[in-house]
């Protein structure tokens, strides 16, 4: 590794956390937490596969199975759930990592559960049948109202206080930094909300909401497609909304949901974030469902359902579509036995990221498809174990705790939903590489050690909690290399994205990236959709849970 590829402490802190760290002491290892680990996603294996190791390996053991699901994130697990629900058991799911769940997975240690990635789901609206079905099965949704609106058990709705923001030395309630806001700030906030409400209320010619979750149930009308041509920043500029507080709120929301700053987020995605969660004019944003382990709860439930079919540690390196007379073939390297293994099946659910498709699927590029438009952002997630709560000034600890002056997203308190307000807990800290692609490359990121990351995490937390060093007992860090699809301007309504969901012969695609935004709901939708397409082909589709748009 070249020396220049390693950032020193000051460079790292300045690049990630801001210029106030430009004068930080060169090496301050005395303040590192006692223990911790750094985990990467299977970066090496992924890149080996990409770089053509596959040609050398040829499996001599084959299994015959009806359907092979490639990828055990939410999309793959959803497909498995849908198959089981239809009574179809002739399938196998191959997952690269030791644990399924992708970016929704969670961890546990010392009696605490905590997320490693996605950690909440807004209460689904009536049109999201598949997800309502799942959450009802999980007994999270207790009943439906006459209008089909789900009623969620109190236990799973995020407990108040939900959010607080640290600004100018003190915590304030809520996410909008309202303290010291001017009349103009408040006017712009009201105008912004009104505009979002307008989008939430509007219906297209077919009676669809303009923005809905899953996005396939929303409108594809020209008026929403047009938004995709702008960045969220341009969209705000056009309306003359320059209030620093409003800008911050939008900036935070874009980084939170998409891992991008507003100048790089499609205005379609920016508006979607807000409008898709509002039922209509005069309604509050949908409440959120959460668990101590975040969306890991959904992963664990789905894993329980598909248990006997899930095979972990399988690095799929080749998918070859079959024909009428020949089976499709999936070749994988089994990292448990260090031997190659093959699956022959009638259909394949490709529930891995699109960026892998051209390396893994034979003839993918030749078929006229192009997945280069699918770009993924990196994230850093840390679980910070503390032996007691930090001292606070202002509003008390909430579920989501945001530091306004930081480029991190702050942290979520793992014990919040259990109702434990005192004593030890785990803080899950998030950092999206939203605007530092040029300053820190993925390679530099992967070269950093646990101590480097722990230092970044604690330096950030120290701004709001000067006593954090005396409380930390452990910091575990996860580096997500390709964590999230990026809804860059022009991508969401690009032909490449729209075409990507269509099957390629017997290969059916699933994954949240097919929607252009990273959401559990989207991943789940595509998994169920792909499974239903296959069930329909096999002539065993009972009652469909998702509607497939024909336009």
């Amino acid at each position: 590794m070249a020396e220049s590829e390693k950032l020193n402490r000051r460079q790292l802190l300045t690049v990630l956390l801001g210029s106030q760290f430009a004068h930080s002491v060169g090496c301050d290892m005395s303040k590192l937490p006692p223990v911790g680990e750094l985990e990467h996603t299977s970066f090496d294996i992924g890149h080996l596969l990409r770089d053509g190791v596959k040609k050398a390996i040829r499996p001599d053991v084959h299994e015959d199975v009806g359907v092979t699901i490639v990828g055990g994130g939410i999309a793959g697990l959803a497909a498995a759930w849908r198959f089981k629900r239809a009574g179809f058991n002739d399938f196998v799911l191959a997952e690269l990592e030791r644990q399924p769940g992708g970016t929704a997975r969670s961890g546990s240690r010392d009696g605490f559960k905590f997320p490693w990635g996605a950690h909440y789901i807004p209460v689904p609206m009536a049109e999201n049948h598949a997800l309502i079905e799942l959450l009802s099965e999980m007994q999270v949704i207790q009943a439906l109202t006459k209008g089909g609106q789900p009623q969620v058990s109190e236990e799973f709705l995020c407990r108040e206080p939900e959010e607080r923001v640290f600004s100018e030395g003190r915590w304030y309630e809520g996410l909008y930094p309202g303290h010291g806001a001017s009349q103009e700030d408040l006017r712009q906030l009201a105008a912004f909300r009104e505009e979002i409400d307008r989008w939430a209320e509007m219906r297209d010619a077919s009676g669809r909401r303009m923005f809905a979750i899953p996005m396939a149930t929303g409108s594809n009308d020209e008026s929403v497609r047009k938004l995709d041509k702008l960045s969220m920043e341009q969209w705000l500029d056009e309306r003359g909304w320059d209030s620093p507080r409003l800008r911050w709120l939008v900036d935070y929301s874009c980084r939170d949901d998409y891992g991008l700053s507003p100048d790089r987020v499609s205005a379609w995605a920016g508006v979607f974030y807000f409008a898709a969660r509002i039922a209509g004019m005069g309604n509050e944003s949908q409440e959120v469902i959460t668990w101590p382990e975040g969306n890991g709860r959904v992963v664990d439930y789905l894993r329980g359902v598909g248990d006997d079919k899930i095979r972990t540690g399988l690095a799929v390196f080749r998918v070859k579509a079959g024909t009428n007379t020949e089976s499709s073939q999936v070749a994988a390297f089994d990292t448990n036995t260090m031997k190659p293994i093959g699956f022959r099946s009638q259909q394949v659910v490709f529930a891995a990221p699109q960026m892998m498709a051209k390396y893994v699927i034979d003839g993918f590029s030749a078929s006229g498809r192009d997945s280069t438009a699918f770009r993924y952002g990196s994230w850093l997630v840390a679980n910070v174990h503390i032996k007691d709560r930090p001292e606070d000034s202002g509003f008390p600890m909430a579920w989501d705790n945001v530091i306004r002056e930081s480029r991190s997203l702050g942290y979520v308190t793992a014990t919040h939903q259990t109702g434990v307000d005192y004593g030890p807990t785990v803080l899950t800290w998030y950092y999206p590489f939203a605007d530092v692609d040029a300053a820190i490359t993925r390679k530099q990121m992967m070269n950093l050690k646990w101590a480097d990351w722990a230092d970044v995490v604690l330096s950030d937390l120290r701004r709001a909690h000067p006593d954090i060093d005396t409380l930390v007992t452990r910091v575990d860090v996860m580096c997500w290399g390709h964590a999230m699809i990026q809804p860059l301007p022009g991508f969401v309504w690009s032909p490449e994205r729209e075409q990507a969901s269509k099957p390629l012969g017997p290969i059916h695609f699933a994954g949240t990236d097919l929607s252009g935004v990273a959401l559990l709901e989207e991943a789940f939708f595509h998994g169920v959709r792909a499974a239903e397409e296959i069930l329909a082909v096999r002539g065993i589709l009972d009652q469909p849970l998702v509607e497939i748009r024909n336009d």
Partner: protein, 508 residues
């Protein structure tokens, strides 16, 4: 002569003096920001006053001609005293001085003037022994190094580990030690007359400040006594709250985080009203649960019922139940109820505890603090009451204290509505507790027809407040306490905390 003393010791002196000076300035700025808010203004003003006072001190130094060494030591001792005591002084004066800013800037000005005197004096003392350009460069260098040291130590070590009160006292001691040391270091320049007296005073100042460091906690208590207007007989900061017991001629009082929990003069009214209606309505309850109520006073009332076989008390704070079992004043009042063999004390968060499995209870007394924060508000939610239903018998009776229906009507009725929503049949009642005012309670039961008790029977002999007619009277609501519509308190809205905050704000 003086040049026999190693010069670096003198520079060390400069370093210490400079560090102390800046620390006092930082303490004043931080304290002003804490107490008055608006840190930008406070720091600007403190720095401005301090710097100009430095100038005043320097200007004054020209009028001093004789006994420079002695004056220098006197200045050190004065600075040690004023600077060292500045944080305690400012804390206390904030509690009962109306023109706090005057005290604040006065203190900063005095400190600034004394610090301003220091350097010119020291330089004049040293000028005999050093080349002028060397002198200026070295003294100023060490002065600035001292400032750097102070500005680094203050946020990184001092405030987090010592706190403002102790930091101020510790640096006062350092300052006084410089003075004391000066009496040895500058011995050749001092006349013999009065030397012992000077040293004596230096020792006295060091001693005074050291006592201050040891007694820093007592100082905090003292401030509280001034604010509460009563003698503090016991004070302790637990992980959950600050518990203070005060005493005056009429009786004694217990405060949690500054909120009065009971006054020994009339607590019997509150606890008889809280406990006996539920106990009578439940028939002859055998297993009784108390949630909150770590003072043991509700348990005292429960134990007056013969049929009771066991009482389980769940209070989050071991510090509270320790007071109830160890502080004689409280033990006398609760008649050692928590020591009774029927009673089991469990120190854990009731929110978590009710979610576990327990043998069902026949009666429950809920005596939580008022819902003034989210961490208490969660104990008043439909979620909590539903969990509670899982651990009581089908005909169990629950009683609950629910703040003042007169002051906080929305809060009161919100609690009752929430219990109803959770499947309880609820009856409101209230009574007068002089130190609290009109206080609200409720009886609740999962059973359909909750019969309000009318007869105390032989229990009446053991009571100080209730009799049969009073018991029935509790349930007669006056015209100014009538049901109002409210929202239901749930974990995900915590409306009760908002109601409570609106209704009680500025009234306590």
């Amino acid at each position: 002569m003086l040049n026999r003393a190693p010069l670096f010791l003198l520079y060390l002196n400069v370093l210490a003096v400079a560090t102390c000076g800046l620390i006092y300035e930082l303490i004043a700025g931080t304290l002003a920001s804490y107490l008055l808010g608006d840190s930008v203004t406070q720091f600007s003003l403190v720095i401005g006053v301090y710097l100009s006072a430095l100038g005043v001190g320097a200007w004054f130094s020209q009028y001093l001609h004789q006994g420079l060494a002695r004056t220098f030591i006197e200045v050190e001792l004065a600075l040690a005293l004023v600077g060292g005591l500045s944080a305690p002084l400012l804390f206390v004066s904030f509690a009962f001085v109306q023109w706090f800013q005057l005290v604040l800037f006065g203190t900063v000005f005095v400190i600034g003037t004394l610090v301003g005197l220091e350097l010119p004096l020291l330089m004049r003392i040293l000028k005999e022994h050093l080349d002028f350009s060397d002198l200026v460069s070295r003294v100023l260098t060490f002065d600035y190094i001292g400032a750097l040291l102070a500005s680094l130590l203050f946020p990184v070590l001092l405030v987090p580990y010592l706190g403002l009160m102790r930091t101020s006292l510790v640096f006062g001691v350092l300052n006084a030690l410089v003075g004391l040391w000066g009496t040895y270091l500058l011995r050749p320049l001092l006349t013999k007359r009065g030397l012992a007296g000077l040293r004596g005073r230096a020792f006295l100042v060091v001693g005074l400040l050291v006592v201050g460091i040891i007694k820093a906690d007592t100082l905090t208590t003292w401030t509280e006594e001034i604010i509460l207007g009563k003698a503090v007989v016991h004070a302790k900061q637990t992980r959950f709250q600050r518990i203070v017991v005060t005493n005056n001629r009429q009786g004694f009082q217990l405060y949690l985080n500054g909120h009065l929990q009971f006054n020994s003069v009339d607590e019997y009214r509150y606890h008889e009203a809280l406990v006996h209606p539920a106990m009578m309505a439940a028939g002859t309850p055998k297993r009784v649960l108390v949630l909150g109520g770590g003072d043991g006073l509700a348990v005292r009332e429960i134990l007056k019922h013969d049929g009771v076989e066991s009482v389980t008390l769940v209070d989050i704070d071991p510090g509270m139940t320790e007071i109830a079992t160890q502080l004689p004043l409280v033990r006398d009042l609760n008649e050692d109820s928590l020591m009774d063999e029927k009673v089991t004390v469990i120190n854990t968060d009731a929110f978590v505890w009710v979610g576990q499995e327990h043998e069902p209870f026949d009666a429950v007394v809920i005596d939580f603090p008022d819902p003034g924060s989210y961490s208490v508000g969660k104990l008043y939610t439909t979620f909590f009451y539903r969990r509670l239903r899982q651990i009581i018998t089908a005909d169990a009776v629950v009683s609950i204290q629910c703040t003042s229906p007169l002051v906080a009507g929305q809060s009161y009725w919100c609690i009752l509505r929430t219990m109803e929503e959770a499947g309880f049949n609820v009856r409101p009642y209230c009574t007068a507790v002089p130190t609290f005012g009109v206080w609200g309670f409720a009886l609740a039961s999962p059973q359909g027809d909750l019969v309000v008790p009318m007869q105390l029977g032989k229990l009446e002999q053991e009571l100080s407040f209730l009799n049969d007619s009073m018991l029935a009277n509790l349930f007669e609501l006056p015209r100014d306490i009538q049901p109002i519509e409210t929202e239901i308190n749930q974990l995900n809205n915590q409306v009760l905390v908002r109601y409570y905050d609106e209704e009680w704000r500025g009234r306590e």
